[in-house]
Amino acid sequence: VTLARLVVRNLTRHPVRSFLVFAFAALSLFVFGFLRSVVTSLDEAVRSASSDRLVVSSAVGLFAELPASYREPLLEVDGVESVARWSWFGGTYRDPKNFFPRMAVDLDVFFGQYPEVVVPEAQRRALLEERRGCMVGTGLVDKFGFAVGDTVSLEGTLYRHPRGLPWDFLVRAVYGTTNPAFQDKGLWFHWPYLQEVRSADPTYAGVPATVTLFMVKVARGRSIAAVSEAIEARWAAGPVRAHAQTEAAFRAERVAAFGNVPALLAWIGGAVFLAMLFSVVNAMSMAARERAKEVGVLKALGFRDGTAARLVLWESILVVGSGGLLGVVLSWATADSWKVVFAGALPNYFVTGATVALGAAIAVAIGFLGGVVPAARLARLAPVVVLREDA
């Protein structure tokens, strides 16, 4: 009991220093929470992908496009339940910096394939009935204030509207998602509408319609591997080779495109913790030096070496641990604001419970490591020597 009281008293003796160490720990762990969440969010997008959806794209390259006419043969492949056409629309909303995915898809099929996308029934019906209708995610509603009934104007980049006019889409539905890896910052509209406008453009006269990819749902109980093999075999000799992969594999490729970013973030995280450790060792050494005399008194009174040393150790763990916990919890609490900052780059950013727990554990460990060296020095102090010194 006395020991605990001494620890608390010591904490308040140098309130400024205790606060500085506390704040330092909070900041460092905040950065840690942020960096680790970037990496886990990328991984999560891969892990939570559905296992019954296949992405069929051109084997040539992501933007090489497949003929839209592949849809009917795809539907005939044994084990295929449904096929949706997807075309990456691109486009610019006011400023090229306002990046979010805009995709033309077969919406009726899409809803059957994506149970994690939640739309009120009335809005769903209104969307399917409106040729120029679109649905936007709750994330876009938060960012741009879109609402059902609004018109969203996009300037075409890949696809130009006749006479260079903007594309006007009518917001008919707002979707939410039950899977954080399915991003809520998308704009989805009818693939047939894209094709309708495209075929009226003289540029495309005589050019067959194409899609970026086909989303294929595999019937329950059928082997994914067998279905993808059958699809690839169907067009092995051309005209354009098709590549079928699970949604997870497709997303993994997109994550791999980040190159060395995860490794880079890990290095930065290491530097942050090293800096934090230095600071804690520094502060606790200062505390220990100032208290040498007191410790001498305690020892002279009969306290054991370990007890006196533990005072400093506990102080270190308490300050750094609580600061770190605050920091990592703050990074969790502010996740939604970061999401806005990342916009298109990392739409699924979120902080996992494991990150919070790991961060708190690391903070305690650093508190221990930072306190143990000065504490050991105090334990070795001979009371007579300290008490004799007059400074």
Binding site: V60, G61, T92, F99, A256, F278
Partner: protein
């Protein structure tokens, strides 16, 4: 005002070396992170900046932000475009212009980590004339037009499988033979080049992506903007015209912005942490030297001199940290890395670049962090009353 001799802060640092070193280390690590991220950004920026020339014209479809989004119909659009007066002509009177295709193609990486998207450019003979000496074939030869042959940028030949002279690459269902390796200081250096007719045929692409041309001698690069306005509204072939330099400069934005944001966020957070560490150190320094300060003031030094002396001490800690941070960052210079060019979704290979201005900036930030950390403790020291300070044991 009599200043405290400079020897005082330096000697003090040496006496209390362990907290000084720890503070410097903290600042050094912060600066190292800043420098590392900035050198990554610098490397990417300079790669694209070196690609572009002011006297090379790039025509894209209006609205397109990159080649990946652009469409140029061949020969419907290109035949009209090549007659434009701003395009230079060679000795035979032929326009020095090339209608090129651009497509990211899936290829296997050599390290076995799967596929990546490599930019493949379909070129015309004039493409080589436009690039001139900047493109050098260092092994093998240029591709023969009319044949299924390609040349590969040197950095790619190390990262991508089957990219050595004599190897065969499969584009869709057509095998292309690698007949040469080339270098280019700019981002063309991490591309694959081949005959545009063969490549668009093999990949079943109905369109090409851009027209690139040399600016005529009697046109000044500063007039490109005016010509661009005129072409943008052209009734037959509206086009977006930029100099090659302006085009590639705009390509750096996406990744450049992300890296700059990352550097700013991290430096702000870590910098604040480093300042807290420095405040701690300097507060303890002032606390431990209360009596010394009392002596200084009794000797007639003014509060301001004392303030300055402690501030210098903090600044020196910052400077040491800055130098340390730079030493950590320097070995990164030249380190090769790869990332995705988010404007075209293709892989680009480039190196970290640690430049003198970048180092100067890092050291500047470090000194600033030290000074910020030292300001409050130094002010405290300057306010000590000599009698009280001397009385304190």
């Amino acid at each position: 005002v009599r200043l405290v001799p400079l020897r005082y802060p330096f000697r003090s640092l040496a006496v209390r070396w362990s907290p000084s070193v720890f503070s410097a280390l903290g600042i050094g690590l912060t600066v190292a992170v800043l420098g590392g991220v900035l050198s990554l950004r610098e490397g990417f920026r300079s790669l694209l900046a070196e690609t572009g020339r002011e006297d090379v014209l790039v025509y894209l479809r209006p609205g397109a932000q990159s080649e990946g989004e652009s469409i140029v119909r061949y020969p419907t659009d290109s035949a009209i475009l090549v007659t434009r007066p701003e395009i230079a002509k060679d000795a035979t009177g032929a326009p020095i212009a090339a209608c090129e295709s651009y497509l990211g193609i899936n290829l296997q990486k050599t390290d076995g980590s799967g596929t990546t998207i490599v930019p493949v450019r379909g070129v015309e003979p004039m493409s080589f004339v436009i690039q001139g000496d900047r493109l050098r074939v260092v092994e093998g030869r240029k591709p023969t037009f009319g044949a299924d042959e390609v040349i590969v940028g040197v950095p790619l030949s190390r990262r991508i499988r089957d990219c050595r002279v004599g190897d065969t690459l499969l584009f869709n269902v057509t095998p292309f033979q690698v007949v040469g390796l080339f270098t280019h200081e700019g981002s063309y250096g991490s591309e694959i080049w081949g005959d545009v007719v063969r490549i668009t045929g093999a990949t079943q692409r109905p369109f090409r992506q851009r027209l690139v041309a040399l600016l005529a001698d009697d046109h000044d690069p500063s007039r490109i903007a005016a010509i661009a306005d005129e072409i943008e509204d052209d009734a037959r072939t509206p086009m977006k015209l930029q100099s090659e330099k302006a085009y590639y400069a705009a390509q750096t934005t996406t990744l450049g912005d992300v890296l700059m944001a990352l550097a700013t966020i991290l430096t702000t957070l870590m910098g604040t942490a480093a300042v807290l560490g420095a405040v701690n150190t300097m507060l303890a320094a002032v606390g431990a030297r209360t009596r010394e300060v009392g002596v200084l003031v009794s000797l007639g030094y003014r509060g301001f001199s004392v303030f300055l002396s402690f501030l210098i001490e903090a600044g020196v800690i910052g400077l040491a940290g800055g130098v340390l941070g730079c030493l950590i960052v320097l070995p990164l210079n030249g380190l090769q890395t790869g990332t995705t060019n988010w404007n075209t979704f293709t892989e680009v290979a480039f190196a970290f670049r640690v430049t003198p201005p970048l180092l100067a900036k890092s050291v500047g930030v470090a000194v600033l962090l030290g000074l910020l950390g030292g300001a409050v403790p130094a002010w405290r020291a300057s306010r000590l009353v000599p009698t009280a300070a001397l009385r304190r044991l």
